[in-house]
């Protein structure tokens, strides 16, 4: 009886540890990649670009990771796949953790689409390091670091 109890306890502990490890791994993969990431649905983000201009196709043509204090900063996010309702969030943060802006766009993508987010500061951007984090349906799908000089 006692042996059975300890055997069951050991199994339970092993299972619990395995679950936690899997979750940590998933989080690490999602954070800070900026590369293709698939969510639970068929829709995926396969490109995140930063720049100071976008083309007619909404895409940042020339990527940049440093900006002048008076520039508008654009992020283009290319998605592939179809979804009746998908939420893209762009969260811009400053080096001290302050949220500069957080914007949400709800789309019904069908195939390859590009969604752009942009921020501008009439007072001029404080110099420093910034980060853009992109979330698709509440899940982080990539991030980009950039600097204002």
């Amino acid at each position: 009886m006692t042996t059975r109890f300890w055997l069951a306890a050991a199994c339970a502990l092993t299972l619990a540890t395995g679950t936690a490890c899997n979750r940590d791994t998933a989080d690490d993969t999602a954070a800070g990649t900026g590369t293709a990431t698939t969510t639970a649905s068929e829709l995926r983000v396969d490109e995140i670009r930063l720049g100071n201009a976008i083309g007619a196709d909404n895409r940042v043509a020339t990527e940049s990771d440093d900006f002048a204090t008076n520039e508008t900063i654009y992020a283009s996010i290319r998605t592939a796949g179809t979804a009746p309702n998908a939420t893209l969030v762009a969260r811009w943060t400053f080096e001290d953790g302050q949220v500069v802006s957080e914007d949400t766009r709800t789309i019904a993508p069908n195939g390859s689409d590009v969604t752009e987010f942009h921020i501008t500061n009439p007072n001029g951007w404080p110099a420093g390091n910034y980060k853009l984090e992109v979330m698709l349906n509440g899940q982080s799908v990539g991030s980009k670091d950039f600097e204002v000089k």
Binding site: L88, A90, Q98, T106, I107, A108, D113, T115, I119, N121
Partner: protein, 97 residues
């Protein structure tokens, strides 16, 4: 900042960056998803008491006795004659238009 920090060159605290005037926007080549349907207004009911009429209930519920027709229309399955309602009947009160 303490006196010792000043005397011995303690770290200056950087003023907090101000992002209060930041403007943002977005656009997409993907169509916008249909917005969620607004939540339906909770259904209200009223239990008829002796002496009630539809116009009295309308006056009480909407402040306008002329709106008795709205209550009548919402309860056509329960009321065959608008001049005849019975104590104990539970009527649906539609939202005021």
């Amino acid at each position: 900042m303490g006196l010792l920090d000043k005397l011995f060159g303690g770290k200056e605290e950087k003023p907090r960056a101000d992002f209060s005037n930041v403007q943002s926007g977005s656009s997409s080549t993907a169509p916008s998803a249909p917005s969620a349907q607004p939540a339906a207004a909770p259904k209200r009911t009223y239990t008829v008491v002796s002496g009630d009429s539809l116009s009295k209930i309308a006056k009480r519920e909407y402040g306008d006795a002329q709106k008795w027709k709205a209550i009548y229309e919402a309860n056509r399955d329960k009321i065959s004659n608008p001049d005849l309602i019975h104590p104990g009947q539970v009527l649906t009160i539609p939202p005021a238009s």
